[in-house]
Symmetry: C2
Subunit: 351 residues, 2 copies
């Protein structure tokens, strides 16, 4: 059975699509390019009333940072993000290591003011944020589950079709490869003790619910998510430029898997990255088979978090790039997009 | 085998314990009560180089809000929280529905200033935040995995023993009941396709790795987490007041499960709550068997998020309490703590 026939439509989908339609129409009229940037991880709930879920690692840094550089490059951005993940602009002050309350103080008159040493940086961020609001070039649309994400991606792609080659898909979200079909989802929190009644009525024929107890162990049995990228390229967005991301932990697999994805889906670009080095190097694998690393220099931009938040960030990532790698990725992508658009125009003139 | 023998010690544990030791010593000398407030969900990584993990639903609202009221009631607070979950004070401006950038503007001189209508609320939050910093009454310690959490809880409890009855445990974190033992954890991202080499060497005798592919399905097979609350009450913190939380989705189970936990672990109080009503009602079940609901009135404090963030919060929780329920919970708890302390003193005089 088709995924969308078997999976419930999210309650707020229509409202989100209405917002997107108006946004896309405005920018289509202004002949502005529109990038759909996806960001953050999708969840796979294990119960309908969700207490436990499977998640994919992603704070949303790649997506939120890239969105800012797309805006800077003249794009309008639909930011399809995991609810409460990092957002463009506010990301600069979101984490506990850079709490905006630390930048504030009282002046002599008792008013809350921003300390002078932080004024310049904050003014720059605020200017860009207000410009995006004023020109209505940034639309924030949240998702939580992989089901929310798949429904939204399909509907937004269809809404973006009138943009033709001016539409760009930059799929930085960490989307689950597995899910729990609605027919095998239990209603209530799975009880860890056998003392309590367990709802096991919601199996699917021979198979038990996707998450259930066996002895004292929790067994979770997930189905593969259909390969939506194939449908996006072939059916939902056949005229747009499409860029996917590939995150691996094993360096020996990265290039092979990125090439494999391009061969399988025939889109424009795969940006490969490794979990441990993703902030300073990415691998561009293009449709013509070319491979190119983009690397930013590593500097001493160490964050001082000692004594406040236990220092986990420094431990996990001792090296820091001296510039944001997205400031190099996005202009490259925009340049490739220009080529795709010109090529599309040449092809149209030939016909 | 004992959990802590079989599970690796977190890399930053010693540093966190050092911070806690100094903090506890300061407040022991000042005869201040110390509450360990746990907050947010723990993760269960499926790979050593973690791309996928299981999570427990919790934004950290209960913990972050309660921590503020404990500070207001004169406690020092160790805030043991999921990294990047909500924090006391900054929580008021953390979510995308209340972005602090929306509260700022430029004045005539070009400086960034806070809009006058938001001054009063922000001044109040900032005052409390700065007071906690000045008096060093709030220590933020982050965790990510359930393993981080268990190691920290044990070490902090031991460090808090000199506080005797002045120590309070307020266990609001959503801790996983299941985990992946180190011996059954794979190193790299689990590959969804059979085309790629899979690391299956890390099984444990007869059992395969806890997460592995079977056909095209992902199978996850988790072991139960040992009942750490038993150890906390009996061994790690025998003189402290201990409060646990019980979150359920099925109303018919809540009281029964809360009572069951008290009988099993013999601590002081279980605060029960239901996923859908947790912001306006909780059930206190005390060691003497008494049950009491605490309910705050529901008001019209609806947040206006339309047109910006797709409105998911309003959809999920149409009703909003008119006051924060933690402003009622925490003073009740502090009162019970006073009684536990007096009782402890009477018992000591008797001996």
């Amino acid at each position: 059975m088709d995924y969308f026939t078997a999976s419930p439509k999210p309650a707020n989908l229509d409202r989100q699509v209405t917002l997107a339609r108006a946004f896309i129409q405005q920018h289509a009229e202004q002949h502005r390019r529109v990038a759909l940037v996806t960001s953050g991880g999708t969840t796979v709930p294990l119960e309908n009333q969700t207490v436990r879920f499977i998640d994919n690692f992603s704070a949303g840094t790649r997506g939120a940072t890239s969105a800012e550089y797309f805006l800077q490059s003249g794009y309008a951005v639909i930011f399809l993000h995991r609810q409460f993940s990092l957002l463009p602009y506010s990301r600069h002050y979101s984490h506990s290591t850079n709490c905006f309350l630390d930048f504030m103080t009282h002046n002599d008159a008792g008013a809350v003011v921003i300390e002078s040493e932080y004024q310049q940086q904050m003014a720059k961020v605020l200017d860009q944020y207000r410009k995006a609001k004023r020109e209505n070039t940034l639309l924030l649309l949240p998702f939580v589950t992989v089901n929310d994400y798949l429904w939204l991606l399909r509907e937004l792609a269809i809404q973006m079709q009138p943009l033709e080659a001016n539409g760009l898909f930059y799929l930085a979200a960490a989307v689950s490869d597995f899910f729990v079909p609605a027919a095998r989802m239990v209603e209530h929190k799975i009880q860890s003790s056998e003392d309590y009644h367990q709802d096991v009525t919601n199996g699917d024929g021979d198979r038990p619910p996707a998450a259930h107890m066996e002895d004292k162990r929790l067994i979770i049995d997930l189905d593969p998510v259909p390969k939506f990228l194939k449908q996006l390229v072939d059916t939902w967005a056949p005229r747009s430029m499409i860029i996917s991301f590939k995150l691996e932990t094993d360096p020996s697999l990265l290039a092979k898997k990125a090439k494999g994805a391009l061969q399988k889906y025939s889109h424009h670009l795969v940006i490969g990255n490794l979990l441990n080095t993703r902030k300073w190097e990415v691998l561009f694998v293009a449709a013509d088979g070319s491979e190119r690393w983009i690397r930013v220099p590593l500097g001493r931009r160490t964050r001082s978090v000692t004594g406040k938040d236990g220092d986990t960030i420094e431990n996990a990532e001792p090296r820091e790039p001296s510039i944001e790698i997205e400031s190099w990725i996005v202009p490259e992508v925009a340049q490739m997009h220009t080529e795709v658009i010109s090529k599309g125009k040449v092809e149209m003139q030939r016909h």
